[in-house]
Subunit: 552 residues, 2 copies
C-alpha cells in the first residue's frame, strides 16, 4: 500500500456541467487534469465565458508541473489559454488530436510557446508527468481521441475517466479499452474520479453508429437539399454525414468557422476521412441541383450568430431554405438552449423545410454513458474509493448510488464540491478541507473584472430599467441652480409621471437644503428614496434610480 498522501481539489465541474478542472497534488508538486470553460447561464448577464477560479494556484505557480487534457471539448480545454497566461505550466499533455485542437487555440491567443506540448499515447507504457507516473486509456466519446488518465501517486492509484461512453462499435474503431481497464482493476485502483453526466439515466447510451444508421435511413430517398447541424467538435457525426453524402452522390459544404477549422485539423491528422473533391464552397452550392448537395453546419444549439441560426432567419449569404429541403438537427439542446433551438425549428419549418430533431427522430446519441455503463466501469476497476465528477449534484449523487450498489462502502463514496480538498492516504479518500472557489467571468476583453456586484446591477437594470435624475445645486445661496433633469431607459415613455417625479425631486431637494442636509451622499439618498417610492406607488416597478448631484 502506498504510504504517502495525494490531494485532489476540483476547481470546476462538480455541482455543474462545464468548466472541468481538477488539481492533483502531492508533496512533490501538482498536475492539473483538464482546464475547461462553461458557457454563461441566464443569470450571467452579458458574460461571454465562465472560467474556473485559478485563485488557489495564484501563489503556487512554481508547483504546477503539467496540465493533462482528457479530450478536446471546450468544457475540458477552453480555459487553457487563460490558465497558461495567468498561472502557466511547463508541460501540457494530451492525445494527438487534442494537441492539434489546442495548438490552434493557443496560436489564436499568441501562446504557442507558453508550454511544451507533449503527446499522450494510450498504446504506450507509463510516462512521468510531474511527480506522478501516468498512463492513458482510450475512451469512446463524442470527439475522437478521448482518454482516461491513470496516475500512480504517493497516496495511491487514481483513475480519472474523462468523459466517456462504452461504445463497442465506435465510428473510428477506437473502443473504450475495457481490457486495459480490467487490467487496471486487477492491479488495484484506489480512487476513481468518474464522469457522472448520465448517471441518472437507466440502461445504456446508443452507439454513435446508430446515428449513421438513421442518416442512411433518412437521407437516400430525399430529393431536396440536406442540412446536418451538429457540434463542430463532433467529428464522428461529421464523418457519418460525409459518408452518407458520398453514398448518395451529394457534394458537401462545411458551413461555420469552428467546424471548418476542426475538420481541417482532424483531416490533416488523419482523424477524419474526407475525399478532397467531395467538398464544395458554400458559395458554389447554387451551381448544383439540390439533390446533389449536403450542408454540414454549426448551430445545433440555436446560438445567435451560428450558421444554422442565420440560415433559419434567412440571414445567410449563400444559403436560403427552400421547400423540399430537410434539416437534421443532430444534437440535443443543452439545458437552457431549448427555446432557441425551438425557434430555429419553427423558422426552418416555416421556410419550407422538413426538420428532424432528436425529439422525433433517432438523429442524436449522447457521448456520455448511462447508468449501466457506469456500473460496468465500476465492475472493471473495482475502485476502493469513488469520487463522482462532471455533473450537477443530482448526477454526482446518482453516480454515488451506483458505486454503493457496486459494493463501495458508503463512507468511501466522496460527494465533493468545487473547492473540496479530498485526501487519498492509506487507501482511503476523505474530504479534509474546503477552499473558496468561485467563477471567473470573461466579458469582452476583460477577464475577471466583472464580478457578482456588476451582475446584480445588470439584473436590476434588466428588470425595470434605469431612472437617472440630475440635480444641480450651487450659486450664491447654495440652492439648486437648474431644474432636475430626468433620463429614463427601459422604463416607460415620459409622461405625466415624469413631471410629477421632477416636482417630487425638486421638493425633496428643497426640503433637504432647508433642513441643512447639504452633504452630497445624504442628499442623493433622500432623492433616491423619494423618487423610488413615488415610482413604485404609481407603477409597481422598481427601476434602478441613480441620482447625480452636481455642485457648481
Amino acid at each position: 500500500m502506498p504510504s504517502g498522501w495525494t490531494r485532489i481539489t476540483p476547481l470546476g465541474g462538480l455541482g455543474e456541467v462545464g468548466k472541468n478542472m481538477t488539481i492533483v497534488e502531492s508533496e512533490q508538486g501538482l498536475v492539473i487534469i483538464d482546464a475547461g470553460l462553461s458557457f454563461p447561464r441566464d443569470e450571467h448577464l452579458g458574460v461571454d465565458l465562465v472560467l474556473p477560479d485559478f485563485g488557489p494556484l495564484r501563489e503556487r505557480r512554481g508547483d504546477v508541473r503539467a496540465v493533462i487534457l482528457t479530450h478536446g471539448h471546450e468544457d475540458h480545454v477552453g480555459a487553457l489559454p487563460y490558465f497558461l497566461r495567468e498561472i502557466g505550466a511547463p508541460e501540457v499533455w494530451a492525445t494527438r488530436l487534442t494537441l492539434g485542437l489546442i495548438q490552434s487555440k493557443l496560436g489564436e491567443h499568441g501562446l504557442l510557446r507558453s508550454a511544451e506540448l507533449r503527446e499522450a499515447e494510450p498504446e504506450q507504457g507509463p510516462v512521468e508527468i510531474g511527480p506522478f507516473r501516468a498512463q492513458f486509456v482510450r475512451m469512446a466519446h463524442s470527439i475522437p481521441d478521448a482518454v482516461a488518465v491513470v496516475l500512480d501517486t504517493p497516496g495511491g492509484r487514481i483513475v480519472h475517466t474523462g468523459d466517456y461512453k462504452i461504445d463497442h462499435t465506435p465510428v473510428d474503431g477506437f473502443r473504450t479499452d475495457v481490457g486495459r481497464l480490467a487490467e487496471l482493476g486487477n492491479e488495484g485502483v484506489d480512487l476513481l474520479l468518474g464522469d457522472s453526466t448520465n448517471a441518472e439515466r437507466p440502461g445504456v447510451t446508443e452507439s454513435e453508429r446508430t446515428v449513421g444508421e438513421a442518416f442512411r435511413h433518412i437521407i437516400p430517398p430525399l430529393r431536396g437539399r440536406v442540412l446536418v447541424a451538429s457540434f463542430a467538435s463532433n467529428l464522428h457525426r461529421v464523418q457519418q454525414a460525409i459518408d452518407v453524402a458520398l453514398e448518395t452522390n451529394r457534394k458537401v459544404a462545411l458551413v461555420g468557422r469552428s467546424l471548418r477549422k476542426n475538420v481541417n485539423i482532424a483531416k490533416s491528422l488523419g482523424y477524419i476521412d474526407v475525399p478532397e473533391d467531395l467538398l464544395i464552397k458554400p458559395e458554389r452550392l447554387g451551381e448544383l441541383p439540390p439533390e446533389e448537395t449536403m450542408i454540414v453546419c454549426t448551430g445545433s444549439q440555436g446560438e445567435p450568430m451560428s450558421a444554422l441560426t442565420r440560415i433559419a432567419y434567412n440571414d445567410h449569404k449563400h444559403i436560403t431554405i427552400e421547400k423540399g429541403d430537410t434539416v437534421i438537427i443532430s444534437a440535443k439542446p443543452v439545458p437552457g438552449n431549448e427555446l432557441r433551438v425551438h425557434d430555429s425549428i419553427n423558422r426552418l419549418t416555416k421556410a419550407g423545410a422538413q426538420v428532424l430533431h432528436q425529439e422525433i427522430a433517432p438523429v442524436h446519441a449522447s457521448g456520455h454513458g448511462n447508468a449501466e455503463e457506469l456500473r460496468t466501469i465500476l465492475a472493471l476497476l473495482r475502485p476502493k474509493n469513488v469520487m463522482p465528477v462532471h455533473g450537477e449534484f443530482r448526477m454526482l449523487y446518482a453516480h454515488g448510488r451506483l458505486a454503493t450498489d457496486a459494493g463501495v462502502p458508503e463512507d468511501r463514496v466522496i460527494l465533493a464540491e468545487n473547492g473540496s480538498v479530498v485526501e487519498l492516504a492509506d487507501g482511503r479518500a476523505r474530504i479534509v478541507d474546503q477552499i473558496d472557489v468561485g467563477s471567473t467571468f470573461v466579458d469582452g476583453l476583460g477577464v475577471g473584472d466583472v464580478r457578482d456586484v456588476a451582475l446584480r446591477d445588470r439584473r436590476h437594470l434588466s428588470e425595470d430599467g434605469v431612472l437617472i435624475v440630475v440635480v444641480t445645486i450651487g450659486g450664491e445661496n447654495g440652492r439648486r441652480a437648474a431644474a432636475p433633469e430626468l433620463v429614463a431607459r427601459g422604463f416607460a415613455e415620459p409622461g405625466p409621471l415624469f413631471d410629477e417625479a421632477r416636482d417630487e425631486v425638486a421638493r425633496t431637494v428643497a426640503q433637504c437644503l432647508d433642513g441643512g442636509v447639504a452633504e452630497l451622499k445624504l442628499l442623493q439618498e433622500h432623492i433616491h428614496d423619494a423618487l423610488g417610492q413615488l415610482v413604485y406607488e404609481r407603477t409597481g416597478r422598481r427601476p434602478m434610480i441613480l441620482p447625480v448631484v452636481v455642485e457648481v
Copy 2:
C-alpha cells in the same frame, strides 16, 4: 350548405404556446373563444405577463357578444380580467368549474359585475350565444371540466377543440365524448380548429391514471415525508396524490396560495374529493411523524417564489427537507424552465431528499393528445377544413400533415398566424386578410406602457450595464462649470479607465465648444460617440452610454 360567411381571427396561440384567443365573427356580431395569457420569455426582460393585443377590438366594443372559455387554464382565461376591463363583453360562457375559477379571479380584480357569467352545459342541447348556436362537448384535459365548442354560424359549422387528450380512463370519469364527436362528424363539420401542442409526438399520451398508478407504486413503501409538486390547476393530479395519502395514512398539507384556492373552489363545487380531516395546516406538519405526512405543493416549474423553490432553498417557514424525504415533481418543465427545475432538483437532493421527476420516473402525463389522438379526432369529425391552433409553427405544421393524411385536401388545411383573417364561406376556409397583432406586456401596475423599445433598452442595459456622464456647462463664457461626473452600474469597478474616460469627455466637450458646437443634442452625441469608442477599445464592451449635459 350555409350561405353566409364567418371570419375567424386568432389574436394569440398560433406560432406560440400560450395566450390563446380567437375571434369568431359574422355580420351579426362576434364572440371570443378563450382569453389567455402567456408567461414572459427570456427576451421579455422584467415583464410579468404577456396578453394578446386587443387592438383589433378597441373600435368594435359594441360587436362583442360573448366570451366563451374552453377550460380554466391561465393560457385560456388569464387575460379575461384585462379584456373585460379594456373591451368588455356582456356574457362570459364556461363550464361550472371554469366559472368558479374565473369568478374568484374577477373578484380579485374587482370585476365581478362586469359581465354576466353563464354556465356552459355539455349535456344540454344547443344555446344561443351572440349570433351563433353553440354546443359544448366534454374533452379530457389536465384540468376538470374542459370542453370543445361547436358553433353553427352563417359560414358553416365550426368545432374548436380547446385543449384535450383522448383519455378513456380519466380520473374524474369524464371522458372525451367521442360518441358526441362522431355524431357531429356525421352531421357535418365545416371547419375544425384543433389543439396542436403534441402533434409532433407519435402514438398516444398516457392516461392521467398512469400517474396515480406510479404514485401507488412509489409512495406506500416510503418511510419519510412525501412531497408532490404539480401545477396548482391540475386537480386530477392533486386528487390522485390525496387518494394515495388516504390509503397510506398520511395527512396532507396543501402548500401554495393558488393550490389552496383551486382546491377550495373545486371542493365546494364537487370536483375534488377531500375528506375534511385528511388536511392539516403546514405549520402542524412537525407534530406528526414524517411517514404520516404528505405535502402537495406548487413550484413544479422552479418558479422563484413558489412553495417548492422556497423549500428547496431552505427558505420555507414550515417545511425543511430531511434525509429520507421523497419529492415527486409531477410535471414536465415548460420549455425555458428546465434550468430552474434542475436547480430545484439539485438543491433538494443535496438536502437529503430522493427526487423523482419525469425524466427518471413515470410521474407525469401530458394533458394534450399525441398524433394518434389527433388522427382519431380528425376521423371522428371528418372536417372539410382544418385550421391547426394552439402551438408553435412546427406543431401547427405537424397537425396540418395529420389532416392531409386524413384526407383533407392540402388547400383546405389553413396554416394561419396570429392576425390571420380566415373566412369560412361556401364550405371553404381561406385566409383573406392579415391584420397586425402584437403582444401587450403587463409590468407591475402598467398594462401596455412597456413596449419593444423599453425591452430593447433593458436588453442593452443587461448586457454591459450603463455609463452615465454628466457634464455641466455654462457660466459667463459658456464653458463647462464642473468636471464631468461618471457613474457606472453593471459595468466594472471604477479604475484608471474612468480617469481616462473623464479626460476624454472633457477634451470632447472643449473641442465641441471651441468649434462652436453648443447645441445640447449635438454635444451629447459627440460625448456619446467619443466615450463609447474609448470604452470599446479598452474593454471590448458596449455599455449603454447616457450623456447628460446640464446648462447652468
